[in-house]
């Protein structure tokens, strides 16, 4: 017989390895990964092929193509891709319209669509017609050509920004949106896994055998590390998949920034999970059956859900006071701060403060959670009150 190691230091590693493997082989893991990947793929593909890009229209005109020239010129100025196709008579034009070859048909002063006319196309054609009438009127009134051109400048107001515009803002918002949804799903899902893992051991009573070999803190640490590591691995896999798919389809303009955002999401998952895992473990330890877990988790659920909604709101206004506060509080920082960072709204001192607050509250929370867990995990039957669990472990 070999001599056992003198302490149980390192037992957490055995626990972590078991929890990691058991859940890696769990059907729920495969299903959740598949669902996440397919939702993400749909999002990326829609973005790549449906949304974005310059709109393009085909405008049919009856008679000479020159009838559509003013609209085409105006469209070009506005960055709209407009092609004019001439038809010898109305019947030919209507035929093309019903075949879907053209988006609308201009017959003299009438613009006709099959079922509707795209609003943007209408605006361009209308504006071009107005400009033509004004040009004709002013020309008739004898206005010199240079004054005429000046009066008819379609963009007399110059548009600018105080700060240089971020060319990737749209792309970043998309990344931040995906990131916050992933973070929310991952923090919540893996937190619940910690809680159910605790209950499994409690309900099957195996926990008493485990605790005769190793300390509650080793068991808790191993469980959190094992499940958290699986969360990181899954998240990294999903991020790599998403970035790869985006690059293939051209949905994201700047892959480098997406890689940075993925690293950011991973880092904040680690911070957030470390904070929440202890709370989830405690809620699992306080009850004895899966059915009771929902109730025990309600407070944590609400906190995470509110943080999530604030963070989604941050996509619109990352500098709103409630968002800034949420990005600093430990309960919500893991969701709100990464959004603000990706959108470029967070200042360096804010990021530093957020990380310091989150890490130090986690360090405060771990021994508290460990003590309550140790005091509650061997108690079966009725739900254990926090105060009793605290004293039992004293």
């Amino acid at each position: 017989m070999s001599e056992p190691a003198p302490t149980d230091r390192g037992a957490w590693l055995l626990v972590a390895r078991r929890d990691f493997r058991v859940r890696l082989r769990d059907k729920g893991f495969a299903i959740s990964t598949a669902i996440t990947l397919s939702v993400l793929s749909a999002f990326i593909l829609i973005r790549a092929y449906a949304g974005g890009g310059t709109p393009s229209y085909e405008l049919g005109v009856v008679g000479a193509a020159s009838a559509g020239a003013p609209a085409a010129a105006l469209a070009r100025q506005q960055g709209i891709d407009l092609t004019v196709r001439a038809f010898p008579d109305e019947a030919a034009g209507r035929g093309a319209l019903s075949d879907g070859d053209i988006d609308a048909l201009l017959e003299g002063e009438r613009l006709i669509g099959q079922r509707d006319v795209p609003a943007e196309l209408t605006d361009v054609v209308q504006a071009a017609a107005v400009a033509e009438r004004i040009r004709a009127a002013l020309d008739e009134a004898g206005l010199p050509p240079d004054r005429l051109a000046q009066a008819l400048d379609p963009r007399p107001v110059r548009v600018g920004t105080v700060e240089p515009p971020d060319p990737n803002r749209d792309s970043n918002a998309a990344v931040a949106f995906i990131g916050v949804i992933l973070l929310y799903g991952q923090l919540f899902g893996y937190g619940v896994w910690v809680a159910t893992g605790v209950i499994e051991e409690k309900a099957s009573r195996v926990v008493e055998i485990l605790l005769s070999a190793i300390s509650p803190r080793q068991l808790l640490a191993g469980k959190v590390v094992g499940i958290g590591t699986l969360g990181i691995v899954q998240l990294a896999f999903i991020a790599a998949f998403a970035i790869g798919l985006s690059m293939l389809t051209g949905a994201l303009s700047i892959p480098a920034s997406a890689v940075g955002a993925a690293a950011l999401v991973l880092a904040w998952f680690v911070l957030g999970f470390a904070f929440y895992a202890g709370l989830f473990a405690v809620s699992g330890a306080l009850v004895s059956r899966m059915e009771e877990l929902q109730n025990a988790m309600v407070p944590i659920n609400i906190v995470i859900l509110v943080s999530f909604f604030i963070s989604v709101g941050a996509l619109q206004d990352p500098d709103a006071p409630v968002v800034v506060i949420a990005s600093l509080l430990p309960f919500s920082a893991a969701l709100a701060m990464p959004v603000r960072i990706v959108l470029g709204a967070a200042t360096a001192p804010q990021i530093a403060a957020s990380v310091i607050i989150l890490v130090s509250s986690t360090l405060l929370l771990i021994p508290l959670a460990g003590r309550i867990y140790a005091g509650a995990v061997l108690r079966t039957g009725a739900r254990v009150r926090l105060r009793d669990a605290w004293r039992a472990a004293g």
Binding site: M1, S2, P4, A5, P6, T7, D8, A11, L14, V15, R18, V22, E200, E201, S204, R205, V206, V207, E208, I209, L210, L211, S212, A213, I214, S215, L378, T380
Partner: protein
């Protein structure tokens, strides 16, 4: 040698242990006997370190028990527990490793103990698919897989059929005789305890009422009783004998309680003078009777 020294433990208003002291010497099997709620499980949990005592001490080989010593204990809790979805072999290896064995040793021991307990054919099965009897065997394997230096078993015989009882008794006997492992187990089945144990500890309401070998308990606790059956004598033949008192009437005779200074041979002489003695014996109280007597006082 395991020593429990003056253990106290309360749960809110309930005093579970009120100064529990006893020892489990090397190579002996100690039966831990008491009514429900007497404090057996609490004492065992404290010995294993899964529960803390309010005061008192647990010593192993003369030194206070620490985590390292406890990892060499084997434990079977009253509430049986294993991972239901984990395979038997994986589970035993995992538990052995938590107790500090290296991977290769854990693998080897898991195979050995499975064979010893007759569950080697189930190594690849999940625990939840096993019959209750086999689950019980795996549970025992979990307590033994790391070759413990000390065994603490809470109601190990409950739920076993007579064959299982004999098998488990044999395993405990071998652990104790061949490996010198001290064994302590609790049980309600007092006849079983009497048959298997070298010594017993009687606990009642958190206090140890008696401890020692069963003969010692008899000597210390039991009254001196003789059963006499005399054919042809009247029912009061012993009335003239000072120090003899009728304890009970039994079919064909009586049970007499003898005073300390009354020689049983004098009782026999008188009986033979009264008629034909068909039966004369010392009444050895069973453990159950001793237990009842101790708990009532």
């Amino acid at each position: 040698m395991l020593e429990l020294i003056d253990l106290h433990r309360r749960f809110d208003d309930v005093v579970a242990l009120d100064g529990v002291t006893f020892t489990v010497p090397e190579g002996t099997i100690v039966g831990f006997v008491g009514a429900n709620g007497a404090g057996k499980t609490t004492a065992m949990r404290i010995a294993l370190g899964v529960l803390a005592a309010d005061s008192g001490e647990v010593r192993w080989n003369g030194r206070p028990v620490d985590a390292a010593a406890r990892r060499r204990f084997g434990y079977m809790p009253e509430e049986r527990g294993l991972y239901p979805k984990m395979k038997v072999h994986d589970q035993l290896v995992y538990l052995a490793r938590l107790h500090g064995l290296a991977r290769a040793d854990a693998e080897r021991r898991a195979d050995e103990i499975s064979e010893t307990l007759g569950v080697q054919g189930r190594a690849g099965d999940r625990v939840e698919t096993l019959s209750l009897g086999n689950q019980q065997r795996v549970q025992l394997a979990a307590a033994l897989v790391h070759e413990p230096e000390m065994l603490v078993l809470d109601e190990p015989f409950s739920g076993l059929d007579p064959v299982g009882v004999d098998a488990l008794a044999g395993v405990l006997r071998r652990q104790s005789e061949n490996h010198g492992v001290p064994v302590v187990f609790s049980s309600h089945q007092l006849d079983l305890v009497e048959r298997i144990c070298d010594a017993v500890v009687l606990i009642d309401r958190g206090r140890v009422m008696a401890a020692g070998t069963i003969d010692e308990l008899r000597a210390a606790r039991a009254r001196r009783l003789v059963r006499v059956e005399v054919a042809g004598a009247d029912g009061e033949w012993f009335a003239s004998l000072p120090g003899a008192r009728l304890d009970a009437t039994v079919p064909g005779g009586v049970v007499l309680e003898l005073a300390d200074d009354l020689d049983e041979q004098r009782v026999l002489d008188l009986a033979r003078g009264s008629g034909d003695v068909t039966h004369f014996s010392r009444v050895r109280p069973t453990l159950a009777e001793l237990f009842r007597e101790v708990v009532q006082t």
